[in-house]
Symmetry: none
Subunit: 220 residues, 4 copies
Amino acid sequence: MNEEQWLEELLKFSEEDGKFSEKQLKILEAAIEMFAEKGYAATSTSEIAKRAGVAEGTIFRHYKTKKDLLLAIVTPTLLQSVAPFLAKEFAKEVFEHQYEHYEDFVRTVWKNRYKFVKKYLPAIRVFWQEIAFHAEIKKQLEVVFMEHVYEKFKKIVEYFQERGEIADFPVESVIRLTVTTIAGFFATRFIIMPDYEWDDEAEMERTIQFLMNGLRKKGA
Amino acid sequence: MNEEQWLEELLKFSEEDGKFSEKQLKILEAAIEMFAEKGYAATSTSEIAKRAGVAEGTIFRHYKTKKDLLLAIVTPTLLQSVAPFLAKEFAKEVFEHQYEHYEDFVRTVWKNRYKFVKKYLPAIRVFWQEIAFHAEIKKQLEVVFMEHVYEKFKKIVEYFQERGEIADFPVESVIRLTVTTIAGFFATRFIIMPDYEWDDEAEMERTIQFLMNGLRKKGA
Amino acid sequence: MNEEQWLEELLKFSEEDGKFSEKQLKILEAAIEMFAEKGYAATSTSEIAKRAGVAEGTIFRHYKTKKDLLLAIVTPTLLQSVAPFLAKEFAKEVFEHQYEHYEDFVRTVWKNRYKFVKKYLPAIRVFWQEIAFHAEIKKQLEVVFMEHVYEKFKKIVEYFQERGEIADFPVESVIRLTVTTIAGFFATRFIIMPDYEWDDEAEMERTIQFLMNGLRKKGA
Amino acid sequence: MNEEQWLEELLKFSEEDGKFSEKQLKILEAAIEMFAEKGYAATSTSEIAKRAGVAEGTIFRHYKTKKDLLLAIVTPTLLQSVAPFLAKEFAKEVFEHQYEHYEDFVRTVWKNRYKFVKKYLPAIRVFWQEIAFHAEIKKQLEVVFMEHVYEKFKKIVEYFQERGEIADFPVESVIRLTVTTIAGFFATRFIIMPDYEWDDEAEMERTIQFLMNGLRKKGA
DNA sequence: AATGAATGAGTATTCATTCAT
DNA sequence: AATGAATGAATACTCATTCAT
């Protein structure tokens, strides 16, 4: 029972905080694992019930449909994905000089998200697989990103551009290059080649060095 | 019949070149579209038959199982994905100074793969979605990549590293950074935000500039 | 519900005694009837469902495959077929002089099996039709026959041979002649010519007379 | 081509004598084998085509339906089954004292049918399996038996009954006992226990001895 | 809340048969 | 005569969901 703590943590962003029974957690855990392994469409509710150790009907007592079960996994994952940007103190931290350089910011985000990816990898897999096929999820992502992430990220980028620290690319391009460089590492590291022997610390250093050089303002 | 030319081209890497009947092409086209839209597992053979305008039994005359149909799509896509590296003249082009700089090489790959992605986007979606769930596909990719892409790429990187043009990162890291930077653009451009108004030419310039700066040897 | 008593009786030899729900009995009854009429391979599960008055899925909730359903019919039938020999008191009855002559034994078996055949004819038809095509069923029959029937039968034959009552044929031949004579009647009576007007009592008398004369020791 | 002689022989009783092409024989041979192995309903026409080495359509050029193919096998088998009784000289042979005793007659039938069973076993299996499920076949059998076998057999039995050689059972009973005794041996020998080590000569002697003693008139 | 038997629409696949070549 | 691609109805079996207990 203690084992499911990671799940409770993942879920703590969803509104219905705290109301998860033991069986409900077992169901969610089983569903995450199986969706990650075989995909949502290829996983049957009876398999989930079996792995969760509950009766078939029990799943539907908690989630009206199979899709509701997917959304119950995917929504908290989405929120956790952008968690740092949701925190109220986040912007303050940046502008009150906790981050003297863009690199400090990147480094903080990197480390924070590295832990996140490692911890919730199965849920993240589910999220990224299913987003392609479920328009609602994609919509949710867009809304959350535009409302909570983009604006803050933009201000940060503009702040360091004004200080002449990073190149005068359009903000969107800087954000995109930052995000795809970090996400590109995570994708390679955890999904495409998880079995390769990674020196995570060294690869992070190289990647951040690459990113900062890539974004550095010419002549600076 | 003329419409399916793109399909025939996509398929031309598979060994059984040229033996595709009209119905077979219709089936493949319908399957690619639907797998891209809803995913392999969520697409039924009866839907494919309907969209292809053939009887359901006809699908199974050409492909013993639904999975065979998937592989018939995914295998040529894999091969086309790494097509430039499969060409015999490719290495020559690089070392006989067609590419004076790493940037020329990157630029050529970029343009070539840009056309490819635009043309075969649905098939590529299918490939990248399903690779996660079908171990055989992932294995195929690994084999093709290691045998045909990695060795050639490595020589190119080492060549330009020796000439002091790019940083002394491990070859694997250079390859990864190059690939994820390019792929990161394509993913954002065509999959995550296809509806955004992209200035492809400008974004390519920026991204390549970012990549070259990121990889440039310090002090060079 | 009362009607299915014959079925419950047939099934009482299978280990899972007593756990048959009403729907399960309906399914078994329908399956026996249809397999007997058209054969296992020519009977579809949807027809069985229809005749049993249940949904098709219900069949598969109780029997994982169509073949499991066949075995659920055939195994108890096999056991009931050799029922008298499975009874513990059986050997005793013979040797403690309940049967003074081989003829008494034959007569008892005949009457007992006559009732059995009349009662369970459809299940028996299924058994004998399908044994030809399913190696597992044939194997089961061999095992049950050798373990439970052959040894006891052999002792009985040897007992009456020693007493000079029946001919000194090899035991196997005596058993075969006895069995095929009885079975030959049942086959003709119930399967080949069920519509002929039989005088069962008289035909039994003649057949037993024929059998006893055929087996009588010369000079006795 | 030479191999199929047994087939041509089997077929020579059917009216369309002599018009069998090579492919047609291959189809019939394949069909007999597969029907015997798996049963008519469980054998697909495509399997038959494959084993016969012809295209699927070819079967239907020769036999309008799958059932026609079955009948093409079963009808000659039926006729060959009762062949001796169909011969014009047969009755004569008996009454012109070629058979001095009923035993001679039985012995001749036995040997003749023994060869027949050995030669055409697969076709016979098909016949006996499928008769249970196809009313037309059963009807055919009844007609042939009543018209060609029963009458002649009856005369023979009555002839020997008048001569006091065999018991005064009803003729039908004598016929039934004779037939089931012989058929009981064949069934055990070739179908139920084909792998047992049989001493055919000795078993025939015993069985005929049993049969003759069983039928002998008391006091004779 | 939890169960698990029951459902019936849906699934991938097979089949006997047709027909243009 | 022979082929084999094409058909669409049928097949065994699975599924998400419901509901009485």
